[in-house]
Symmetry: C2
């Protein structure tokens, strides 16, 4: 249907002609074609743990008073509900164990349609075609799609078990200086907690190092080089110690753009995300938000504000963490039992994903024999290949898989991993 070279397409903009089909549509049509599929691919959250009764009670309260109800059902503002921004500011301060409330100024905060919209608008505000963004190698594949649509080049910086390889970050920047590309570099996109797809978390030390390194190259770049910290999975930690955000670091309030969300920890169907942005990015993104939709649903913001202020959010989150911890353990046990020697994986401390490798670096990509065998056994995973930028500096690794324990039941996690293990034994 979509043939970018036909005459019909001459009316499209450059972006409209450039934008490619997202991997997600391929994954979804694959899933649809296999109705009995066990999907370890979906980034959906756990269905049975969604807060149905809680949301019902919150709406009952919220819509129980006509003053509150009318306010919630009326337009809000472009930045979003002041109460929810205030609560978010306080919450960020608590998560960062920071006494400096100025770091989390609600006036530099925007409430968005999931954190995804914030990522999009930040990219709009900072990037022209031909610009460069550094991403983890591998990274969140939907974000790679955003960069692709804007004609922005992505360069990868290796991801290790401990997070971003800051030594490689420096080497990449050095090389960009030599080639002159540094002038086109706008920011480093970092999924800092329980990353999608690897589950790895970048330590505070590494974040500090990254921020310091980026700062040193600003002169060569001729402009700020921001750190865009995507903390989407931050609240889904079920092991290990909390880690502060880059906002709490030196220069954090002028160089860090922070993207967070309430959707994943509370209910994905509500799509309430937020961002904290330094000037002039805040103003540019606020204006863009005005054009996108002049503010997200006020009703959902009021729901989240009430969930937070009543303690319902915190209580739900504790239960959710315990649940994901249990599901992660189930997947780990299955991996240990069913994957053959030579297969390998990273064990996350939170989030929704394991990152696994086939024995002997055998291929796991969308066209690989292994992927087809897995599908024949009715199991779907996200081929790791999809999570790597088109970076000419290296060949795309093709022997990895993202395995999600978010949506599948415990029984399906066990059975799915068992079948994948079998598919490896051929």
């Amino acid at each position: 249907v979509f043939r970018p070279k036909s005459a019909d397409h001459l009316a499209l903009s450059e972006l409209g002609r450039r934008i490619e089909a997202p991997p997600i549509s391929w994954l979804m049509s694959t899933a649809l074609a296999h109705p009995h599929l066990i999907s370890l691919a979906a980034g959906f959250t756990d269905n049975p743990s969604l807060p149905v009764a809680e949301a019902r009670a919150l709406f009952e309260e919220l819509l129980g008073s006509s003053a509150d109800g009318q306010a919630a059902l009326q337009y809000g503002t472009t930045s979003g509900d002041p109460q929810l921004r205030e609560l978010t500011s306080r919450r960020l301060g608590e998560l960062d164990e920071s006494a400096d409330s100025g770091l989390y100024d609600p006036d530099r905060m925007l409430l968005t349609n999931g954190s995804q919209q914030l990522l999009y608008m930040v990219t709009e505000a900072l990037c022209d075609p031909g610009d460069i963004v550094l991403v983890e190698d591998p990274t969140y594949f939907v974000y790679l799609g955003i960069l692709q649509s804007f004609g922005v080049r992505a360069r990868g910086v290796r991801m290790e078990k401990e997070g971003l390889d800051t030594g490689q970050l420096e080497r990449v920047l050095e090389e960009m200086c030599r080639s002159g590309q540094i002038k086109r570099l706008k920011f480093l996109y970092l999924v800092s907690y329980h990353q999608n797809p690897t589950g790895a978390t970048t330590s505070l030390e590494r974040k500090a190092a990254a921020l310091e390194i980026l700062g040193r190259y600003e002169k060569a770049a001729g402009h700020r080089i921001y750190l865009l910290e995507d903390a989407a999975y931050r609240e889904l930690r079920f092991q290990g110690s909390p880690i502060r955000s880059a906002l709490a670091l030196k220069h954090g309030n002028s160089r860090v753009i922070y993207a967070g969300t309430y959707s994943k920890p509370f209910a994905t169907g509500t799509r309430v995300g937020f961002g904290l942005l330094p000037e002039p990015v805040f103003t540019a993104v606020w204006r863009i938000k005005g054009n996108h939709d002049f503010g997200s649903s006020h009703l959902l913001q009021k729901l989240l504000a009430r969930a937070l202020s009543s303690g319902v959010y915190e209580e739900h989150l504790a239960a959710l963490r315990a649940r994901y911890q249990a599901k992660a353990r189930v997947m780990l046990e299955a991996l240990e039992e069913h994957f053959p020697p030579g297969a390998d994986w990273w064990t996350p401390q939170g989030g929704l994903y394991y990152w696994a490798r086939l024995p002997g670096k055998r291929a796991a990509g969308p066209r690989s024999a292994f992927f087809k065998r897995a599908l024949a056994k009715d199991v779907l995973y996200v081929p790791g290949e999809l999570c790597y930028a088109d970076d000419p500096a290296r060949k795309k690794p093709a022997h990895e898989m993202r395995l999600s324990f978010g949506a599948a039941s415990e029984a399906n996690i066990r059975e799915g991993i068992r079948r994948l293990g079998e598919a490896m034994k051929v």
Copy 2:
């Protein structure tokens, strides 16, 4: 704070540097500085008529079953809930009194964050900087902001009481052919029902003429010239006969992009809009939507689906129409009583706005003596000037006002108009 020429701004994209402050922020800060203000400026809907009890009952049902509740609180799809698309398709067919259900194919439909997001994405999919979009003269000022941010030139086509002046449309196109600008023309943006800001409705005959005229110039343009029909106020008709959409016209399914919304007729705080788009625009916009937010809040879509299928929506709409009819009558009576001879206005058959002119074409712009006198009397209106594109082909008319009866109470409508009338008598 936002100084696009400072060194800080060098990291911004062209769009990030170009995008201007929206008039809405000026209007809102003016309102905030006058706490006792009667605002006839706000495009908000009527607070007391918001469906608080209805929404509460709908949520109680929706979240009363754990299966339905979980589905609603989970991610949906990029296009949006199939049930709501199906219901929307059926509803459009009914509004158009059309038996041809193929015209309203749910597979070409997208559910969006208000219809605003659809307008934004369509512009992204079709326009590059330097391209041209035809708009009504005057038009919806937030849409002018979208065009400005993309560096798209807007050209105005005169709006009459009966809607778009199609004679002038043809003359503008003729002139664009002569100047070669026609090659940059992408579409005509038409707020076809009870237009913002004039309240005027473009008749079906005029829509047919416009579509036919645009079609004749496609050869000169070298590509399709779409009609983007913004039907945001369609359901708020309280007088006159229903008018079919341009979708029902010849070539409607290949040349018309239709933007609609459930927010204004039901509850603005829910922000559920929709679009029906021909290929290849559909696919491009669907991909863009995937990058913006990979789908609007599933919970709100499920709320609207239930409102529609239960009949609650239709019942609420009937009451809302009656209420706006009453408020429009109050404003009319006040205009007749308080505005001096020589002042003039258009009387709408629906929507939220009167369009009024000062006697003797005296200035009503943001810096005019009249605007200041009105503000000194604690009344705010939208200066008509803000609703005109920066079109070099004519001087911006500056003697008009948009007067909204949406948000203000009946008492405030009367009092506000009385004070405006007084301010005219100086």
